[in-house]
C-alpha cells in the first residue's frame, strides 16, 4: 500500500473517533473538586491567557466573564461532570484565527500553570488534558 494511502487511512480512522463521547465516569470531575474547582482554575487561567504575549492577541476582544463561564462549562462536560457546553463549536470560533501548533501548546502550558496554582493533582491534570488535546484538530488552523 502506498504510504500516502496508509496515512489517509490512519487519519480517517483517527477522525472517526474524534469528538468522542463523554467520559465513562466522572473521576476527573471529582478530582478537580467538581464545578467549583474547575471554575477556580478557569478564573486563574483566563487572566493568564490574556496577559501572556503568546496567547493574549487571540483573546483581545473577548469578554472575560463570558470566556470563564464557557470554559468552565466545557471543561466540566469534558471531565464527565453534569454540564453542557453551549458555546459555539470549536472549529467555528477558531477558523478565522491564525493559530499554529505552538500557540495551542502555549495555551496548554498556561493551563498547566493554572492547574499547578490550584493544586490539581498531576494525574487529574493529565486526565483533563487528554480530553482537551484532540481539540487541536479544530483549533489549530495553520500548519
Amino acid at each position: 500500500m502506498p504510504r500516502h494511502a496508509l496515512v489517509c487511512l490512519l487519519l480517517a480512522s483517527a477522525a472517526t473517533v474524534a469528538n468522542a463521547a463523554p467520559p465513562a465516569n466522572d473521576n476527573v470531575y471529582q478530582a478537580w473538586g467538581g464545578k467549583a474547582g474547575i471554575r477556580a482554575v478557569m478564573e486563574d487561567f483566563v487572566p493568564r491567557l490574556i496577559a501572556d504575549p503568546r496567547t493574549g492577541p487571540f483573546f483581545k476582544n473577548v469578554n472575560r466573564e463570558n470566556l470563564t463561564t464557557q470554559l468552565t462549562e466545557q471543561l466540566c462536560q469534558e471531565a464527565g461532570g453534569p454540564c453542557t457546553y453551549q458555546g459555539a463549536p470549536m472549529k467555528l470560533v477558531h477558523q478565522d484565527l491564525d493559530i499554529a501548533r505552538r500557540d495551542f501548546n502555549a495555551l496548554v502550558e498556561i493551563l498547566q500553570q493554572s492547574m499547578d496554582a490550584k493544586a490539581i493533582p498531576f494525574a487529574a491534570q493529565n486526565g483533563m488534558l487528554a480530553r482537551l488535546a484532540p481539540m487541536h484538530r479544530d483549533i489549530v488552523t495553520s500548519n
Binding site: 496515512v7 474524534a18 468522542a20 505552538r102 501548546n105 487528554a130 500548519n143
Partner: protein, 297 residues
C-alpha cells in the same frame, strides 16, 4: 565526518526562514540517544528532536557517558529539528576497551564511530492525538563509520566485518496522556556488531537483520519520567575465526530516569545492562551506569 557537518550546516542554513523557538511541550522532544537521534537512551523514537514545533527550528547538543564494569563509552553530538518534521543528527562515539584487549596486544584500544542520522516524521502526533491509538510514526537512517584502530586488520580481515554500515528504522511512539505513559516500538534493519563499534556483518553473517527495540516511560511529573528500554541486536560475529562465542553479543537493556528542569536542559541517568562484550577476553556481563546531559536551543 566533513560531509555530515556540511549536511548539518545546510539544515541550519535552510532554517532561518523559520522562527527559532520552543513551541513544543516539555520533554516531548525526548532525550538524545547514544546514536544521536532523539528518543530514549538506547533507541530512537518517532518524536522529532528539539522543541521546534510546526514552522520553527531548534537544536540540541548532548554528551553521554556509559561506564560498565570493564568498559567505558563516551558519546557526544548534536541534532537539528525542523518544523517538527525532519531531524538531522550527528554523533561521535569513543569506546574505551581499557585493558581488556591486552592479551591481543591491544592494551588501551579505543574503538571510535561517527554517526549521521536523518529522521522523518511521516504520520501522527504522539502527544495531542490522545483520543486515538494512532501513534506518531517516523522513519530514519543512521549511517555509521567505524574506526577500529589496530583491531582493524583483524576485524576487517579474517573476521569479515565492514567498516561502515547504515541502519534503517521505523519508530512508532504513543503517549497515553490520561495515564502519563509513553510507549515506543522501533524496528531497525541493521548489520551492526555492538552497534557498529565492531563493524558491520561478519564472515558468517553478512545480511541485514530486523531487530525490535522497545521503550516504556511513566511521567511522574511534567519534568520527570522513568522507564525501561530493551534493544535487540544481531549476533553476526558469534561464529568467527576466534572461536564459537568468542565475540558473542547480547541484547541491551536499561532502566532510566529523565529530568528536564527547563526546555534548555535535561539530565538522564540510567542503569544499563550491555550483556557480554567480547566474552573471550572479558567474560563478565557488562552492567553499569549511564549519564547523559542534553542542551536545547
Amino acid at each position: 565526518m566533513r560531509r555530515s557537518v556540511l549536511m548539518l550546516s545546510v539544515a541550519l542554513l535552510s532554517a532561518p526562514a523559520l522562527a527559532q523557538s520552543n513551541g513544543k511541550l516539555l520533554l516531548t522532544g525526548g532525550v538524545s540517544s547514544i546514536d544521536g537521534a532523539a528518543g530514549g537512551g538506547l533507541t530512537p523514537w518517532a518524536i522529532t528532536g528539539s522543541y521546534a514545533s510546526t514552522g520553527e527550528w531548534g537544536a540540541t547538543a548532548f554528551v553521554t557517558r556509559a561506564s560498565t564494569d570493564n568498559y567505558g563509552l563516551l558519546t557526544y553530538g548534536a541534532a537539528v529539528g525542523i518544523g517538527d518534521r525532519v531531524e538531522v543528527s550527528l554523533a561521535k562515539q569513543d569506546f574505551n576497551t581499557q585493558s581488556n584487549l591486552a592479551p591481543l596486544g591491544l592494551d588501551g584500544l579505543h574503538l571510535k564511530q561517527d554517526i549521521v542520522g536523518v529522521k522523518l516524521r511521516v504520520a501522527g502526533d504522539a502527544v495531542l492525538d490522545s483520543d486515538t491509538l494512532m501513534p506518531q510514526i517516523a522513519i530514519g537512517i543512521e549511517a555509521k563509520k567505524t574506526h577500529a584502530g589496530n583491531l582493524g586488520p583483524t576485524l576487517f580481515g579474517p573476521l569479515g566485518a565492514k567498516s561502515s554500515g547504515t541502519d534503517a528504522y521505523i519508530s512508532a511512539t504513543k503517549l497515553f496522556l490520561a495515564d502519563g505513559v509513553l510507549v515506543n516500538l522501533t524496528l531497525r534493519a541493521t548489520k551492526a556488531n555492538q552497534n557498529g563499534l565492531l563493524g558491520f556483518g561478519g564472515a558468517q553473517g553478512k545480511g541485514y537483520r530486523v531487530q525490535p527495540e522497545f521503550s516504556v516511560a511513566k511521567l511522574l511529573a511534567r519534568d520527570l519520567a522513568f522507564g525501561f528500554e530493551f534493544r535487540a541486536k544481531p549476533d553476526n560475529l558469534n561464529q568467527s575465526v576466534l572461536g564459537s562465542g568468542a565475540l558473542k553479543e547480547d541484547d541491551w537493556k536499561d532502566i532510566f530516569v529523565a529530568w528536564a528542569p527547563s526546555k534548555h536542559f535535561s539530565l538522564t541517568a540510567a542503569w544499563v545492562d550491555l550483556g557480554s562484550i567480547a566474552p573471550a577476553v572479558q567474560p563478565k556481563r557488562q552492567t553499569g551506569s549511564y549519564l547523559s546531559a542534553q542542551f536545547a536551543f
